[in-house]
């Protein structure tokens, strides 16, 4: 198979989808279908994590699918975070400025830290200093 997908929704606040293979004009509809099933499992305001560690290749068709998904999540006040994009994927993201850099994380620890900070901001706890930009 050219694109393999796996998803996990441990809580209604967070789901993770793992992408493995290629996201291109041949496989994007398979991805669109899979995330159609996953996104309703994330509550409004929740987080969808796309783990890109195993995604070796993306083309403009895949970029469009990602953009649609991110927009759908955004419309539900949710967010989509991208984890560990590989060199080819990073390069394509860079060329078309596909995603805000703030939504891309090198590893799960960095991502968890970000979500933790978001949570603290929502709950009004200020014991963590905001990072300077």
């Amino acid at each position: 198979m050219i694109l393999n997908l796996r998803s996990e929704s441990p809580t209604p606040k967070r789901s993770t989808v793992w992408l493995d293979g290629r996201l291109d004009a041949e496989t994007y509809s398979q991805f669109d279908e899979a995330v159609r099933d996953v996104t309703p499992m994330v509550d409004n305001g929740g987080t969808l994590v796309l783990d890109l560690s195993g995604l070796e290749y993306i083309s403009s068709a895949g970029l469009r699918s990602l953009a649609q998904l991110r927009k759908a999540m955004h419309d539900r006040d949710g967010r989509t975070l991208l984890l560990n994009p590989q060199p080819q994927v990073r390069k394509v993201f860079d060329i078309v400025k596909a995603v805000p850099v703030a939504e891309v994380f090198a590893d799960i620890a960095e991502l968890d830290q970000y979500l933790d900070l978001m949570q603290r901001q929502v709950t009004g706890r200020t014991d963590l200093q905001p990072t300077s930009e």
């Binding site: 004009a25 290749y57 649609q68 060329i95 400025k97 805000p100």
Partner: protein
Amino acid sequence: MRLHIRNRLHEVFDALDHAEDALDKAALNPSFRADIRLVLEELMVNTVRHGYPDGRDGSIAIKLDIRPPTVTVELRDDAMPFNPLGIETPELPGDLAQHDAVGGLGVHLARSIASDMHYSRDGDSNHVVIRFDQSLSEETPA
């Protein structure tokens, strides 16, 4: 390597797999192979999707000339005239999800990644010659 395909998406992907095998045998590095695959996917998918609005059967010829560290690809199709160098660079807002549909992304990617691209309209054919230079194909810094 020469391939002839019809204007069908699955044949485009068969051709991409053949091309990638040939590049693999020539021991070109994976990021360079991916660059070439991407440019070919974008241009051929574009041709198949938009080049034959009347729905007629068409054909695409692909010629790969592999001379490491350079690869030259020629694409010839009988679709309606389309010069990939003639369209404007799309506006890139910094977040694709903020806009409904950004057109021309694929062609923009192809032009950005190819080391050199040349277009001519020869009679009833579009003829695109693309040169890839492995030394220009290093990863962009993160």
